[in-house]
Structures are given as C-alpha cells and as structure tokens.
C-alpha cells in the first residue's frame, strides 16, 4: 500500500511517490514522465488514454476529451464553460444540477467522472510501475480554484477509488519540492504558467513552515492559448496559400493545433521553425492540401506577448495585495511547461530583476511536492519534527446574498486556513420552516458578479413568529480550501441540519454510483502510435 502525489494538469498529468526518502516519478506509457490529460471514448465502450487518446483527437475529435480541468466544478451556463465550448471539438450538454456533461457514445459522463477515468489510469500506471496498491493521493489544484472546483477534484479522486488525503495548491507543492527555507527566512514567488492556467503565489518560508502570503491567477490563461495563437498564424498561412480556412474543419483544426504545440516547443530551443504539414485538409476537388511554413521566434513572440504581459500584470496585483514590491522577493521558482518559452523567462527576470530558479524540472516539480506531502500526511503523528507544515490561505472571499443584490462578505480572501466565521440567521416570515442562504465566492460587492457557490438550506425550524428564531451558522473553510457549514439553534444549542447544495456539482449519490461503475469498468492500456505529422527542419 502506498500513497502518491498527482499533479492533475490541464494538458498533462504527473504522478509521483516517495521511496526510501527519494521522490520517484512514474514514467508514462510512451516514454517521458508526462501523461497527457486526455481520455478518448470509442463506440465499443472502451476508453483510451495516453498517446492513443492524443492520436484520437484527430481521428475522433468528437469523443476525445482534453482540457477537462478547464471545466471541472463549473456550471454549464458559467461563462468559463461557455467560452471553452466555443473552442472544444467535443460536445457538452447540461446535465443534472446545472453540471456540464460530456456525451460519449455509450452515455453521458460528468466532468469529475472523466477526470476520474484519467486518475484511474494514472493509478494503474503507478501500480504497474511500483508493484503496489495505491490507496491514497494528494492531488494538486491551482491556488485560485474555488470551492466547487476543489470539491469536484476530490469527487474525481473518489471515483478513481482513491482516498484524497488533501487537495494541495500547486505553488505550495512546488515550494515544498524545492525544500526552501530550511534554516533561513525567505520570501518566494512561485510563477506557474501551465498548459491551461496561470498562477502566481507569494510564500513566506521559515524553517518547516510554509505560509502563503497571497495568491492569484487566471484559470483561462496558459500554453494552450499560445498554441491557439500559433494555430491562427498557421491557419492564416494556409488560407493565404489555398484560399480555405482550415479552422472550419474540426479535423484540420485538431491537426493544426497539435502542430502548433510542436512548433511552440521547437521555438523555445531554436530561433526559427520550418516544416511541412501534410494532409491538413481536402480541397473541393478532393486533393490533399499541405502547408509549408517558416516561422521565426520573433513572429511567435509577437503573437504571445500580450499573454505574457497579462501574467506580469497579475503578478503585480498579487504582490500589491501582499503589500510587497518585486524587489522584496528573495527567490522565484518557475513551474509549468510554458515557462520554457524564452520570452516568459525573460519577462519574469526583467520584472523581478533576478534570475528565476529552474533547477527542478518545471513539469514535474508540482508532483514532487504532492508526493512529499502525501508521504507527510500518511505518516502524520509519527516523526513530527521532520515534516513541513503548509499554511495555506482561502482562495476566494466568501459571501452571502443580502437585500439589493449585494453580497455580504463573510470570509476574506487570502486569510490563513482553516478559518471560521459565525453568523446569526433568522426567519423573515411567520412560521417559516426553512431559511435559504445563497453563498458565493468572489470579491465583488454585487452578488451577481461573484461565482454562485450554491444554496445553504436550514430546515426543520419550529413554527414561530418571524425573527424569533435565531440560527447560528458557522462557515468554515478547511485546509483543503473547502467550505463546510454547521448550524445550531442559538437558544437551545441543538444542532440543526444545514445542507449546502453545490451548484454544478455531483451529488454524493451520483459519486457513489460512479465509483461502483468505475470499479466494474475496463480500461485500455493500448499501444498505438501518434502519426507523424510534423517534420521540423
């Protein structure tokens, strides 16, 4: 039996464990250590993972799910999901409880189920490699994930049969992997530019204590956006040559997107990329159309400069919220594959006036930290003194709806967790038997401008005149960054029922059903190869 740390990424995932005080990263099926975060569903009910799944993005784009992390824990009608749908070739529908569901050939899957399949696959890889059963996991999430996104990630882990020991913020995991602090006091900035998200976190590290001072980010900013920018560049070249926009054809678009990613990686190491993309699309006359291209790094940099500037702007805001200047940061850690892009490194260095740390692999460093924390938690209470303690903060402010469409702040953002706040609620009508409280996450004064989290229902209130019943509600954000609510009668002290219906999430019953289904399901660890698309000269 062992525990693992999993960096469940937008584009790729990494799974690691600690063996004999050393971090061991589980290799991917086709070499390397990055497991593509892609699941493909076939007509015969089989699921494909890894590179097979990536290949199926081209041949079966409708049934191949990628970037599920962009959707997890969000309501179907949310602007993030609607924005993602515009770019995704697979179909999403609105399911129970406002959830976004993916429609596979056999049935509809909730997003935690899709991510659960992926986690199940990762678990299998680790079990094969380690020759042990994996029981528990620490799963990392972006520091700015809200309550619903964290809950959905835990659900995904449960569906994969994992005991989720903790959802850990990615930057905290990275800092832990670097083992900073030790015998001195340091202020650290973790600049995490991944496939789909950007995060910036400022930590204070002293000895074994890691305190998050401030965190912020953008859930919709990542290397994928750079791929899309390059896709547009390639598509324009193609259109100039053939008079046809390949973006109108899903398969052609998927091919170009994969090519764009490869061009991006190539341009991180070389000043230019030339090549030929064969069989991109078919002309009216049935001919296969190809694209010869030549892109210089500065063309690419011009296309992505505004994306990089946005990260620096967010960095500035987060530093300001911690009351710090860029020069007061002692160390900068780069995390995420996108930090390999030279322009990103140059801009970070220019902003902080200091060379960032890159000695640990930016793709693996988060999984390293997660594995260390999983080990710490699995042995909690044994040799206390040697373990780091991670002091995280609330990812968002928490508020409740009040008259006039406003949100009343209950808990602030960036305060150390766990944190508790108690409020007294009362009835507004005679003989009212339930009180509903709408809860949201976000910093805006207007309720509508925040993310609605769900509804808290206090039920079973005995008949009384309005205002005569007082219910004490305690809102607590735990160390996972997840809201828990307790209610009691202020007069009698008796516990009262308080259920939070999380909008856009799975119910406990749905999760339990999904766990059972996954247990009996088969998955495929096949061995097909990605067709060669690109030859970079």
């Amino acid at each position: 039996m062992s525990v693992v740390g999993i960096d469940l990424g937008t584009t790729n995932s990494v799974i690691a464990t600690v063996r004999d005080n050393q971090v061991v990263v589980v290799p991917a099926a086709h070499g390397g250590y990055l497991h593509p975060s892609v699941v493909s569903f076939s007509n015969d009910g089989l699921k494909y993972f890894s590179r097979e799944a990536v290949a199926r993005r081209i041949v079966d784009p409708k049934y191949t799910v990628f970037s599920a992390k962009r959707l997890i824990g969000l309501a179907f009608q949310s602007k993030e999901v609607q924005r993602a749908i515009a770019r995704l070739p697979y179909e999403l529908r609105e399911g129970n409880n406002e959830q976004a569901v993916f429609v596979a050939p056999d049935r509809a899957y909730t997003i935690p189920e899709v991510s659960g399949l992926l986690l199940g696959y990762l678990r299998q890889c680790a079990e094969l490699f380690l020759g042990e059963t994996i029981t528990g996991a620490v799963i990392t999430v972006p520091a700015n994930f809200n309550d619903a996104q964290r809950r959905a990630t835990i659900d995904a882990g449960r569906i994969a049969g994992l005991d989720v020991l903790r959802v850990l913020n990615e930057p905290t995991a990275a800092a832990l992997a670097y083992g900073l602090g030790q015998n001195m006091s340091q202020r650290i900035a973790v600049y995490d530019f991944g496939g789909g998200t950007f995060d910036i976190t400022i930590l204070q590290v002293e000895g074994d204590v890691f305190e998050v001072l401030a965190t912020g980010g953008d859930t919709f900013l990542g290397g994928d956006d750079m791929d899309n920018a390059l896709l547009n560049t390639l598509a324009e070249l193609f259109r100039a040559e053939h008079g046809l926009d390949p973006r109108n054809d899903q398969a052609a678009k998927a091919r170009l997107l994969i090519a764009a990613e490869q061009v991006k990686c190539h341009l991180s190491d070389f000043p230019e990329a030339r090549g030929e993309l064969k069989n991109i699309a078919v002309s009216d006359r049935g001919e296969q159309l190809a694209l010869r291209f030549h892109i210089a790094r500065n063309v690419f940099e011009a296309a992505i400069r505004n994306l990089v500037s946005r990260t620096i702007q967010t960095t500035q805001e987060v530093l300001a919220s911690a009351g710090l200047a860029a020069s007061q940061v002692d160390e900068i850690i780069l995390v995420g594959g996108t930090t390999r892009v030279p322009l990103v490194r140059a801009e970070v260095e220019r902003y902080f006036g200091r060379t960032p740390r890159t000695d640990l692999n930016p793709d693996e460093v988060v999984a390293w930290g997660a594995a260390i924390q999983a080990e710490n938690l699995a042995h909690a209470g044994e040799s206390l003194s040697s373990h780091a303690v991670l002091l995280d903060v609330t990812p968002r402010a928490l508020g409740i709806a009040v008259a006039g469409g406003f949100a009343e702040r209950i808990l602030d953002r960036n305060v150390p967790v766990p944190v508790e706040q108690t409020r007294i609620f009362t009835t507004s009508a005679d003989n009212q038997s339930t009180v509903r409280i709408q809860v949201c996450q976000g910093e805006s004064r207007r309720f509508d401008e925040n993310v609605p989290l769900g509804e808290l229902e206090l039920s079973g209130i005995p008949p009384a005149r309005r205002g005569e019943v007082s219910i004490e509600v305690t809102f607590r954000v735990d160390t996972n960054g997840i809201l828990r609510v307790r209610a009691r009668d202020a007069a009698t002290g008796a516990a009262r029922e308080a259920a939070v219906n999380v909008r856009g999430g799975m119910t406990d019953v749905e999760v339990a059903e999904a766990v059972e289904r996954q247990k009996s399901a088969e998955s495929v660890l096949g061995d097909s190869l990605l067709p060669e698309l690109l030859e970079v000269e």
Binding site: L165, R166, E206, G207, D208, V209, E211, N376, L377, A378, A380, G381, L384, V389, L390, L391, I400, A401, V402, A403, G405, E408, R409, I410, L411, D412, V415, P416, V417, P418, V419, E420, Q421, T422, R423, I424, F425, T426, S428, A429, D430, Q432, V435, R436, I437, Q438, G467, R476, D478, T479
Partner: protein
C-alpha cells in the same frame, strides 16, 4: 511542545476548546500585548508546527479532530488580526469594549438572507424589488401597486403578501384593506 499521547491531546483540546471564547488573541498565541509582528509570526509558526490539522490527519476521533480544527482556526484568526496593524488597532478598541474576538465585519447579521430569495418567478422578483424600493421611499401607494403586480405573477409567495400587507397598512387613506 513535545508530542502528546492521544489522551493528553484529548484533554488539552477539551480544556482549550472550552475556554476559547474567554481568551484574548494575545493569550491564545502566548505573546505580550506589545509583541512585534515578527514575534507574533514566530509564535504562530511554532503553534502551527504543533497544531495544524495536517498534524492530526490520521486521527480517527472526528470530534477531537473538529475541536482541534476550531482551536487552530481561532489561532489563525488571532495571528491575522495581530499581524495586521489596522486590524490590531481595531482589536485594541474591541478589547476596551470587553470583546475578545474581532470578526471580519465585527457585527451580526440580522436577516442577511435576501427576502426575495423565496420568490421563484423572475417577474415577481422584479416587481417585489420595485415594491421594496417604493416602501423605502415611503411611497406606499407605489409599493402596494408593485407588490400587487408581484403577486399576480406568484400568488403563493408569503413574503409578497406580507410586504403587501405592510404597505397597505401604511397607506394614509383610512378604510384601506387591512392586510395584517
């Protein structure tokens, strides 16, 4: 602090949990009222090393775990207040009023839930809001009209009927329908 046996831990948690509301943040963190921010932080870090919930991750006693988390949440609260100059100044005022805690807004909410929450129909909600605005402006005639509109969309909503009653009762004209 050295590692405790589970019995010692349970005793410690019960005692501290019981007197949590009587302790000032200074007492809770074990620092003097003139402690500097680095001193407060250092005290908080050492308490965290001992009492952070991750330290008791494997504990099976849920009640004990919950108590420890409540204690630690209060320690976090104290740290946050004492390490932020503005909050610490506000806390100094609160202490003179005999309070031991400073909540983020430092007040209780009387009826924080939106009265219109129980209304389901969007148009009913809209007119209900307009009615509430009229009511606030003491335009009782306008309020009665808007609440009546609201009721036409959702006759069953208790809160509409209640407010309609209030508005009607406040109408200056004698002999108006009493809605109490």
């Amino acid at each position: 602090m050295a590692q405790r046996t589970s019995e010692q831990l349970a005793n410690f948690a019960r005692q501290l949990h019981g007197k949590l509301d009587q302790l000032t943040y200074y007492e809770l963190l074990g620092v003097s009222s003139t402690a500097s921010i680095p001193e407060v932080r250092s005290a908080f870090y050492s308490l965290s090393n001992d009492l952070h919930p991750d330290r008791y991750h494997g504990l099976n006693d849920r009640e004990l775990k919950d108590r420890l988390e409540t204690i630690y949440a209060r320690i976090c609260e104290g740290y946050r207040v004492l390490s932020t100059p503005e909050k610490r100044a506000a806390y100094a005022r609160a202490l003179t009023e005999g309070k031991r805690r400073l909540t983020s807004t430092d007040r209780e909410s009387k009826a924080p839930q939106n009265p219109e929450d129980s209304i389901r129909h969007e148009d009913a909600k809209k007119f209900f809001r307009l009615g509430m605005i009229s009511l606030a402006r003491k335009d009782y005639k306008g309020a009665v009209m808007n609440f009546n509109f609201a009721r036409s969309f959702e006759p069953g909503a208790a809160v509409i009927n209640q407010k309609l009653g209030e508005a009607q009762a406040a109408l200056p004209k004698p002999g108006g329908p009493g809605g109490k």
